[in-house]
Amino acid sequence: MRRTVGALLRKELLVELRTLESVPGMSLFAVTTFVIFHFALNRNSVEGDLAAGILWVTLLFAAILGINRLFVADAEEGGFDAFLLAPVDRSAMLLAKFLTLLAYLLVLEIVAVPAFALLLLGPPLSRALPDLLGVLALGDLGVAAVGTLVAALAVRTRARDLLGPLLGLPLLVPIVIGGARATSPLFTLAHPAAPPARWLLTLGLYDLVFGLIAYALFDFLLED
């Protein structure tokens, strides 16, 4: 299993490095959105609920771009068939795609969070960063689990570009809500506080539930 996941992950990252189809697009989308918010709100800085909402909604829509392209190379170039012919555990592809999407989200956030701090965030990022990293990690696990499941479901349909966001957005909303509620106290200018435990727990539970659902369903999604 480890060997197969390693082979798939290596292939995913090589293809992305050669094509630069997903991560640059996601990052550019996020930065552009922050610029638009900067001018549309006519504000140099935001804080609290508004700041947390802008960050999470932007990350969500940027993630959708990556989710939509997650299986495209496999579907268009016969990678699915080649994988299905190999004597390997099919869950390896789920895990590899999950890790790939997680890596994409990590790079996205390395670009997007400093850009957000520079363009919009009122409170200093350095103060919120340690807790923010934890909340982002919890959110990313859920986005990657839901995203992999939805991408696998959508890619074998004709309307995959439409179906991905249509299925993905409602399922990702709880992550955005949980992420924004957990992040909001970190972005408070006057009295910053730690992320509320109940929202962290909600995110963790959501990650677990969708991780298990994806594991249970993935084999069926690859089947004819």
């Binding site: 082979a7 293809v15 190999a86």
Partner: protein, 243 residues
């Protein structure tokens, strides 16, 4: 139009063969309302070659994909290498080599990267990759992305991929497409009659196909209209399938 292969003919051919590598009885497969295969039966013993003829849309590729475990049969019984499909498909994966219309390779990866990726999936050593790249005369261009190679070169890499794990059963969909005469000669030891493997080949070339076949299946509109030993068939009967 050739007469449909009746049960007696099928049974006769089937019973003559021992140790069947492929055994199909009453196979049906449809896409929505359209029947792609209906009531197809055949038996192919180990080491033999079945060549499937038929016009476009006759069901040749569907038959190959069912045998490759990529499509589920909707009716009938399919046994490959002694295992029932789809229930025991896991047991034959890794023992089948498929050369399809698509090369099943990533365009952005080089020939070597593609083959090494498949070698990892099949648990094959990289020395086999190097050996096959030499065999298909692609070792000189092994570091170039496939998107920069000609279709013939990509087909040569696809041949190497199909036999990378030394499969017992080869499923070949028009294997000579895009290959020039020199490349056909290069790939013959890997996928030709001399490879010693059981083969199912889809072909539109009556002369070439009959020369390679032990058994011939003619498909038309998803039905088997011809199933006989190759020696009992002449080219006119094959040509008739396409009229």
């Amino acid at each position: 139009m050739p007469a449909p292969a009746d049960e007696a003919t099928v049974t006769k051919v089937g019973s003559r063969l021992s140790a069947a590598a492929v055994q199909v009885e009453g196979l049906a497969r449809h896409y929505g309302e359209r029947e792609a295969l209906s009531g197809v039966s055949l038996s192919l013993s180990e080491g033999q070659t079945l060549v499937v003829f038929g016009p476009n849309g006759a069901g040749k590729t569907t038959l190959l994909r069912v045998l490759a475990t990529l499509l589920r049969p909707h009716a009938g019984r399919v046994q490959v290498l002694g295992y029932d499909l789809p229930h025991e498909a896991w047991a034959v994966r890794g023992r089948i080599g498929l050369l399809a219309h698509e090369p099943l390779l990533y365009r952005e990866l080089t020939a070597q990267e593609n083959l090494r990726f498949h070698a990892r999936l099949h648990g094959v050593g990289f020395e086999r990759v190097a050996e096959l790249l030499r065999a298909v005369a692609m070792d000189g261009r092994r570091h170039e992305p496939l998107r920069t190679l000609s279709r013939g070169m990509v087909q040569r890499v696809a041949v190497a991929r199909a036999v990378l794990h030394d499969p017992e059963l080869l499923l070949l969909d028009e294997p000579r497409s895009n290959l020039d005469p020199a490349a056909i000669e290069l790939t013959a030891p890997l996928i030709g009659a001399g490879s010693g493997r059981t083969r199912v080949i889809c072909s539109h070339d009556p002369a070439g196909g009959l020369a390679e076949a032990d058994l011939v299946l003619g498909l038309r509109d998803g039905r088997a209209v011809l199933l006989r030993a190759a020696g009992e068939i002449d080219r006119a009967e094959i040509a008739e399938l396409y009229r």
